[in-house]
């Protein structure tokens, strides 16, 4: 019960910082809020028994993503978002509709933390019973990541490599083709 209270407390903080990101017009403040948001996500992962995911989120989400965002802000020399009309009706409608559908979907889910849920009785049991014997790694997350689902990880590396090549091609070119036809007139 106490753990659930802490979870909900952190989640409310998370939603508050997400709303902060939505409403602030200062982009540097938004980048800092975004770092704070990722750190809260990392602490929530610890509470959900996922320390490996928490490490990754703290290093990659809080560190690299925030630094990338700050670097983009520095490169584009933008610090303020131009104020717009307050409410976008179509976006709000789509968000509420999607949210309602997802809420309806959760009614069919087993309760949070229920040990009898189908997800825990099929695959996970096998990993927990035989994972260490088969791979020799006591950390089951590592065992599944590097051994059982090694191809997944290879695919992940491919995606990261492709993204890296894309970034380099976009930014490191000496000759930049013109995107706009009448750039000087416009």
């Amino acid at each position: 019960m106490l753990a659930l209270t802490v979870d909900i407390f952190l989640l409310v903080f998370l939603i508050a910082s997400a709303v902060g990101i939505l409403f602030t017009h200062q982009l540097f403040a938004m980048a800092m809020l975004f770092g704070l948001y990722s750190l809260l996500v990392a602490s929530l992962f610890i509470l959900l028994d996922a320390p490996d995911v928490a490490f990754t989120e703290a290093a990659v989400g809080t560190g690299i993503a925030t630094v990338l965002m700050l670097a983009t802000l520095a490169a584009t020399k933008e610090s303020k978002e131009k104020p717009r009309k307050k409410l976008s009706k179509s976006a709000l409608t789509i968000s509420i509709f999607t949210g309602a559908l997802l809420l309806y979907g959760t009614t069919g889910l087993p309760k949070f933390g229920d040990p009898e849920a189908p997800i825990h009785t099929q695959m996970a049991d096998r990993f927990i019973q035989q994972g260490q014997a088969e791979t020799g790694v006591p950390n089951l997350v590592t065992a599944v990541l590097a051994s059982y689902r090694g191809f997944d990880t290879l695919g992940e590396v491919t995606v990261v490599f492709t993204a890296g090549v894309g970034v380099l091609l976009l930014l490191r070119r000496r000759y930049k083709p013109k995107i706009r036809r009448n750039a000087d007139a416009g």
């Binding site: 584009t76 709000l92 959760t106 006591p138």
Partner: protein, 119 residues
């Protein structure tokens, strides 16, 4: 009562995802759009990891004296998703820098206007 208790975390996570989705769709600033996309994505990731939690279970690292472990599978998949997510947002940021070079602006509606003037 126990139904609400058992599902409250899912509902809050869906609220979080929808805040992210609204940010993504309503903000015209491209950097803020990427931030919204990241909020939506971390919401989905948290949702998956929360499905793997077992009450009374512990971290899925085999040790003596523990019988019940949380499910390692959602954690593994989401570990991959976090890294891929950062890679895609890095690509998004590079595109923003490039758009700014070509258009001198990163506001979506201004870009739209400029494209219309060009045609």
């Amino acid at each position: 009562m126990s139904f609400i208790e058992g599902h409250l975390i899912y509902w809050l996570l869906i609220c979080l995802m929808m805040v992210g989705l609204y940010t993504l769709m309503s903000c015209s600033n491209l950097i803020k759009k990427i931030a919204g996309l990241n909020v939506f994505q971390t919401g989905a990731i948290l949702f998956y990891v929360s499905l793997g939690k077992v009450t009374g279970g512990t971290v899925p690292i085999i040790a003596e004296g523990y019988e019940s472990y949380s499910n390692p599978l959602p954690q593994v998949l989401m570990l991959t998703a976090i890294v891929v997510g950062v890679a895609t947002s890095a690509l998004g940021f590079a595109l923003i820098v490039r758009i700014r070079e070509a258009y001198k602006s990163i506001e979506e509606d201004e870009l739209d206007n400029m494209d219309r003037l060009d045609d």
